[in-house]
């Protein structure tokens, strides 16, 4: 077995709101091996982005443990985290608002190198910046351009170059292609895949787009209202989704074929309920067609391994 780069145990993050305690992330556990990709899927408000940010300690967890590269970083202070930032990076969703509009491409990509004092001397830094631009497929002539002069795809390439600048081991990609057109989306996905192969990167890939996650991930975790409801190797989850929510989510993807046989669509009723002050019952119960109120309302189901590597949190799924 390959080395586990990141391990998260029982991670929780609650926010205090005027209405009560908001359960953004509620007892999430997983491991990611070096060089692999874990995809975290779910709809708005399921806590996938909060999970990503908490792993990097951009948000302090309420409880739980984060073990990165053998070190328990849960209690690390900002000062202690600083050197670690070179090993764990993030790519953000919106390439339009995550770049300083007053910096040139050169300044943007050089910033993390200078900030972490990785390379000294102006010439060496410039050389490294140009190398990074080539790695992510940005033409050299753009070196003095400003972000507003570039399209979304190129801006996202700058975001990737900034993350790569410090030679990280882990990159959390939070919806990296959601804001892009399909043809550009494919270019960026190919780039991320190639970088993983060449540099041995480990990714946590957060997205709501199941097609993208299927294409990209080794393992997939499905989140619903702050919890992981199903986790399995990518192919297994698509071949045999076990949780009723995963099934509904998969069947809701519009499939771009016409005249070929399609699976009967499972529509789920209602919408995601409020994550504030949750009762001790299955969180998907009120939208679930397979629910048995006696069992499902009795307590919150925990994540159980029903098949090798295939975990599900549902009272109705038996081993």
């Amino acid at each position: 077995m390959a080395k586990v780069l990141l391990e998260v145990q029982n991670l929780t993050k609650y926010f205090n709101t005027p209405g009560g305690l908001l359960h953004a992330v509620d007892g999430v556990s997983f491991q990611v091996e070096e060089g692999k990709t874990l995809g975290i899927v779910g709809e708005s408000g399921c806590g996938k982005s909060t999970t990503g940010r908490t792993i990097l300690k951009l948000i302090e967890p309420t409880s739980g443990k984060i073990i990165f590269d053998g070190k328990d970083i849960t209690g690390y202070s900002r000062g202690q985290m600083r050197p670690l930032r070179t090993e764990m990076q993030m790519i953000f969703q919106d390439p339009f608002s995550s770049l300083d509009p007053r910096m040139t491409v050169m300044q943007l990509i050089a910033e993390p190198i200078i900030e972490h004092k990785l390379i000294h001397g102006r010439e060496a830094i410039e050389k490294r910046t140009l190398e990074l631009m080539e790695t992510v497929g940005l033409a050299q002539r753009l070196v003095n351009s400003y972000p507003h002069e570039l399209d979304g795809g190129r801006r996202q390439r700058i975001g990737i170059a900034r993350a790569l600048a410090v030679n990280p081991k882990l990159i959390v990609c939070d919806e990296p292609v959601s804001a892009l057109d399909v043809s550009i989306q494919a270019q960026i996905l190919n780039l991320l895949k190639k970088l993983q192969k060449d540099l041995g990167l480990t990714y946590i890939f957060i997205t709501h787009n199941l097609a993208v996650v299927k294409y990209f991930s080794d393992d997939i975790a499905v989140m619903y209202l702050g919890q992981m409801v199903e986790k399995a190797p990518s192919d297994d989850i698509f071949a045999e989704p076990l949780h009723p929510y995963t099934r509904a989510l998969l069947s809701a993807i519009p499939i771009p074929t016409v005249g070929k046989e399609k699976k009967q669509r499972v529509l789920i009723r209602g919408e995601i309920t409020s994550p504030v002050n949750l009762p001790d019952e299955c969180r998907f119960m009120k939208r679930c067609d397979e629910c048995d109120e006696k069992i499902c309302g009795s307590c919150d189901p925990s994540l159980v391994e029903v098949k090798p590597q295939h975990f599900v949190a549902c009272h109705r799924v038996k081993k």
Partner: protein, 330 residues
């Protein structure tokens, strides 16, 4: 009476800006049959939204200008109607659903009042009656009528989009223009809203132009499909023809960019390069600089739509040679 609810012919729309003249729509022709759903597909900047706004004569002018062409909606010549006639037409002949449900509603007005406005504008009706009708519309789109006095911020995104559908359908338009109606929604909510739109269109015998960049949504909903690139239609035909007998290199490129048709680990085949700058379109076929099949002839003339078979048309110079075939989707 014509069999078509909508006929657009040789439409040209430009925006005069400080940075130059934006050629948004460059000679567009298509028709929408009664009770048919046409999907208008393309990427950012292809001119999809401009086309929809032109149909309602809503192009902001200045800077926008409909330079030439004709639009016939329900046997009316849209471009020669007076302001008053246009106002009558909008809402009763055609109505539009916008992409972003978060900004399309007035935040300081109850949703009931916003739906009632549509009735009050088009029908002689009292306040009380209009609110009653608003309640009926809410029920129709699956929202409890008790929420008629709630404000938009009390609704989720999917619910807001349902309210917008209720407003659009209030005066029973013959044609619905839906501009990316589900793009801002989560997939499970998208599935619910698409199902609702399909059902309402069918039950009321309406037609629809659905604008989207999502080929999956098109496959689920549309009868006919027009693929747009740089303000022109490059391929048009029945949904079956477009998806199974793809003829245009750009359409093929779009399909090959989709990760859901691929196995994991296989490399995607994206279209090379970027969409052209609409202030400075390439000569000849606008797609030729990105096209893997392009020859010298492609940059000389702008290809016209040519008949392939059935209802299938494509605009590609390569078909001058009778043996030309695409590499195929994989």
């Amino acid at each position: 009476m014509s069999d078509n609810i909508l006929e657009v012919k040789d439409l040209v729309v430009r925006y005069e800006t400080e940075d130059g003249c934006v050629n948004a729509v460059n000679g567009l022709s298509f028709t929408v049959g009664k009770q048919k759903i046409l999907g208008l597909v393309g990427e950012t900047g292809a001119g999809k939204t401009t086309t929809a706004l032109s149909i309602l004569n809503l192009i902001p002018s200045p800077p926008g200008k409909i330079v030439s062409g004709s639009i016939t909606l329900n046997d009316k010549d849209v471009l020669s109607l007076s302001q008053e006639e246009l106002q009558k037409m909008r809402g009763t002949d055609a109505a539009m659903i916008f992409q972003d449900p978060m900004t399309a509603l007035n935040p300081v007005m109850t949703v009931g009042e916003q739906i009632a406005q549509a009735f009050k504008l088009h029908q002689k009706i009292t306040q009380q009656e209009s609110i009653e009708k608003a309640k009926e519309m809410l029920k129709l789109v699956g929202i409890d009528e008790s929420r008629v006095y709630d404000y938009p911020h009390q609704f989720s995104g999917g619910m807001k989009q349902r309210v917008i559908i209720a407003i659009a359908l209030a005066c029973s338009p013959k044609l619905l223009l839906a501009d990316e109606p589900t793009t801002a929604l989560d997939v499970t909510i998208q599935a619910q809203v698409l199902e609702l739109i399909k059902e309402l269109i069918r039950d009321r015998g309406m037609s629809m132009v659905l604008i989207t960049h999502d080929l999956g949504v098109v496959a689920e909903v549309c009868d006919e499909v027009a693929v747009m690139y740089a303000g022109r239609i490059v391929e048009i035909g029945s949904a079956w023809e477009i998806f199974n007998e793809t003829k245009h290199p750009y359409t093929e490129g779009l399909f090959n960019s989709l990760p859901n048709l691929k196995k994991r680990g296989e490399e995607l085949k994206p279209i090379q390069g970027l969409t052209p700058d609409p202030t400075n379109l390439p000569a000849g076929c606008a797609f030729s600089p990105r096209c893997p099949y392009a020859t010298e002839a492609c940059s000389k003339t702008v290809p016209e739509l040519r008949h392939m078979d059935g209802t299938h048309y494509t605009a590609c110079t390569a078909y001058d040679s009778p043996d030309f075939k695409l590499g195929g989707k994989d």
